[in-house]
């Protein structure tokens, strides 16, 4: 299986970093647990944002809710990417060929694209709305897409080891 992987992923796995992650008694477990803790943080912040976009938590204006949760979501995503990179490096040549991992990567791309559409488009329609005001359909779509995509990303992450 290793032979089929693109050379860059084989090189990454065989790098000093890859060897260090595999051979250290604590590095892999720390990255593993850190990835889950970051996921919990990310999912929490993201759910708050998406629920606000869908019209929940309407006692507070959307801009306030989104701004607060956003910084937590960004910090958590950075932590997810960093710990994910460590976990990936340990077994890069296998993981890159894993179908579930490939689906997960594609969905992360889709999730980020959805976020970009929101940031550069939909956001303008909601930033000036006050508390209790009904959310526009574009915001609801963005929130629903986001929830659906990231839930499947998390499910894929948990499932990689079984394929």
């Amino acid at each position: 299986m290793t032979g089929e992987a693109p050379a860059i992923f084989v090189a990454l796995e065989q790098s000093d970093l890859g060897a260090a992650i595999r051979q250290s008694a604590w590095l892999f477990p720390v990255a593993n647990v850190g990835h889950i803790l970051a996921l919990v943080m990310f999912a929490g912040a993201l759910a708050v944002m998406d629920i606000r976009l869908l019209g929940g938590l309407s006692a507070t204006s959307p801009a306030r809710v989104l701004m607060r949760a956003r910084s937590i979501a960004i910090a958590a995503f950075v932590l997810l990417a960093a710990t994910g990179f460590l976990l990936f490096t340990a077994e890069a040549s296998h993981l890159i060929l894993n179908p579930v991992f490939q689906i997960k990567l594609a969905l992360i791309g889709l999730g980020l694209a959805n976020l970009a559409i929101f940031e550069f488009g939909v956001k303008r329609a909601v930033t000036d709305l006050g508390p209790g005001v009904a959310m526009p359909a574009s915001a609801k779509t963005a929130g629903l897409m986001s929830l659906a995509i990231w839930i499947v990303v998390a499910a894929c992450g948990r499932t990689i080891a079984y394929f």
């Binding site: 299986m1 992650i21 595999r22 051979q23 250290s24 008694a25 590095l27 892999f28 477990p29 593993n32 629920i51 869908l54 019209g55 929940g56 340990a90 077994e91 629903l144 929830l147 839930i151 499947v152 499910a155 948990r158 499932t159 079984y162 394929f163």
Partner: protein
């Protein structure tokens, strides 16, 4: 709308938990094999240790447990050193030929559980 989504999330999570049961995936628990012979290569690494074992003219890749669990159970790096004679009972991979996931191994008359 929110209620529907909560229900949908619960279903996804429940399905995930059900699938995560041991034996699901690419190892055939219905056809256990025992691979016995000398250890050719040995990696005491995360996420799980592996050895290759020469047995009946084939070289098997035997997937073991995470190093923390191995060492807790006394299966240190020395126990699975190259040249040692090992007997591994486990399930063959349905994806990679001559690969198996060990349920337990026996080295020098001592048996170590891997699950």
């Amino acid at each position: 709308m929110l209620r529907v989504m909560t229900a949908a999330s619960a279903i996804v999570l429940a399905a995930g938990a059900a699938f995560a049961h041991h034996g699901w995936g690419s190892y055939d628990a219905a056809k256990p094999v025992t691979v016995a012979g000398p250890i050719v290569t040995s990696k005491y690494e995360n996420p799980h240790a592996t050895v290759t074992v020469r047995s009946e003219g084939k070289v098997w890749t035997v997937t073991l447990a995470p190093t923390s669990r191995m060492s807790t159970r006394g299966a240190s790096e020395k126990v699975i050193a190259v040249g040692k004679s090992i007997s591994a009972y486990g399930y063959p991979s349905t994806a990679t030929p001559d690969e198996m996931r060990a349920e337990r191994i026996t080295v020098d008359g001592k048996t170590f559980e891997m699950r």
